[in-house]
Symmetry: C2
DNA sequence: CTGAAAGCGCTTACAG
DNA sequence: CTGAAAGCGCTTACAG
């Protein structure tokens, strides 16, 4: 039914190896022969069966991208750039939402073992130093899990220090921190460490929420925080969703932003329109995506890569700081 | 290097066909033999090479989902459910953002021809009745393109009629319509038709924007509209992003919602938190996703399917109507 | 420069 | 119930 290399060979009156050579653009083919084959291919409307090709080459040219949830500006943007970069290397990308279930991770490991994909990018994970994980071509963002999984991150610590100092310079005297504690070892924890260090340095009180926050619990967390620390005049928020929820909440509370209360968020700027642009530390999503794809491709091809790559953030003043 | 079916056969002391039979859980295998093979598989840590499997079966078990842009609540949700449903049928999904470029569509057609994927779901498209398109296992949402591409849609016409009548019942006398004209034949056009019909029936003036609106032009469109039709007391908006932009704009203008101005949006409810819940016509995204996957799987397997499937929307009153 | 053959790792009639 | 063999559609040494 489908036209194969054999049909083309017969039509062109040449051997099947020769057809393969012109398909793959090898030089060692006579000009006349090449022409004949090309014509045959066009006449028969041939296109290569990549299943066969890949079996021979033992590469699927597919990688998976595992994100916690796709309906989130950070991950959506990341997915876009990952796909764009991957396609430059000839890879397609399988997008998987983990929805915080560990099952998806093992699914991906299985897919690698079964040669359905060549490797994967884990933006989140529960698993740790499992044997089978460490051997797979896997790379990550922010998460450190084991010495064999290279990852890309942003300068969480310094950026947070700078952001908090920024509020202090503008008069903040009681600064809070709201963030979700990562379930696993993650560079995101550096943000909390930075907060604590700055508070210590300035002898300021600790007003901290840093529990494990599930999706859709944000509202309650924020409410709690503002009840407990009603008089904060500055808040650092780790994460986009939380910052949106927080902003809506304190506005509803009648707080004057930024005069009564300054806000800085890690990951804030995703709205193109609107007036409430939260001052934020912007991660270089595009660069992170491209870098992480590069790492993965290197790893798939057995090259050595750096374990940790740090990319610089950008501080973007908005309307929530003085 | 990798352990193959041959290694397992040798280890278990059986033929390779027998190993294949136990892998595929065929009954015609002796209990003892099965056990031996199972043990060998475990001992060698065997997993099947699906590239070979698929070449044999001539199916990739991969489908593509083409969306205009992934960073949008509607498409993100859709992607999630499509993936979920597809995995039930044993399919993985390749997510592709078209970013409004026709190139991505031809890329997908090529991938089908090259047997990289078995089929695709187009949520948008530019191409029309091209030969090669019509023959491929492709299904769609909202878009009609040709008699061989089944699609799923929601009851755009009736839902819009109901939504507008809803505002009229609540006192609206001058109602506007804002929507982006689809570039191709789409069920979305039914919304405009419904608007015009209702206006005609009630002898009300037409206040319409229905041009082709590019991404990030929303702000300008909204501004224009409100300048031209400053005194509307009701607006029907087609699309989530536009409704958000519109809402922010009229609030900034000082309009009292809903007393001075009522708003209903097609696709509105994606914010879990926050106070400005726009009254909206909610599409059954999950059902649409599952249905469209079902159609695709049927089409891949050569079954006949309905050309058009209409799923019911839900009207969700929010704070923007009386 | 070119063809015939082996082989990638599977499945599946075909015999027995 | 089970093994040996053919074949899925390619690529790639190996000869010539």
């Amino acid at each position: 039914m489908e036209v194969t290399i054999k049909d083309v060979a017969k039509y062109a009156g040449v051997g099947i190896g020769t057809v393969s050579r012109v398909i793959n653009n090898e030089k060692a083919v006579g000009e006349k022969t090449r022409k004949k084959v090309l014509e045959a291919m066009k006449a028969l409307n041939y296109s290569r069966n990549n299943m066969a090709f890949r079996l021979r080459k033992n590469e699927t040219r597919i990688v998976a991208l595992l994100v916690p949830i796709i309906n989130h500006p950070f991950f959506a943007k990341l997915a876009y750039y990952v796909e764009d970069e991957a396609s430059k290397f000839g890879y397609s990308v399988l997008l998987v939402s983990s929805q915080q279930k560990v099952g998806k991770e093992t699914e991906i490991i299985t897919k690698i073992a079964q040669r359905e994909i060549d490797g994967a990018i884990f933006v989140t994970h529960f698993m740790h130093e499992e044997q089978d994980l460490q051997k797979c071509p896997i790379v990550s963002i922010d998460r450190r899990f084991g010495d064999n999984i290279p990852y890309v991150t942003s300068d969480n610590y310094q950026a947070t220090v700078n952001a908090i100092e920024y509020m202090i310079e503008r008069g903040a005297t009681k600064i809070g921190y709201i963030g979700s504690k990562p379930l696993v070892s993650s560079e995101v924890s550096e943000r909390e460490r930075a907060y604590l260090d700055v508070m210590a340095k300035h002898n300021m009180p600790i007003c901290l929420v840093n529990e494990v926050i599930q999706h859709e619990e944000e509202q309650a967390v924020v409410q709690n925080f503002m009840q407990k620390y009603a008089d904060v005049d500055g808040v650092f928020i780790s994460g986009y969703t939380m910052s949106q929820v927080f902003y809506d909440h304190v506005v509803a509370l009648g707080k004057q932003i930024p005069n009564q209360l300054q806000i800085v968020s890690y990951d804030g700027m995703f709205k193109q329109w609107g007036s409430n642009n939260i001052t934020s530390v912007e991660q270089p999503i595009e660069e992170m995506a491209r870098k992480v794809v590069g790492l993965l491709v290197d790893k798939i091809h057995g090259k050595e890569t750096a374990l940790r790559t740090v990319l610089p953030t950008k501080f973007v003043p908005g309307t929530t700081t003085k």
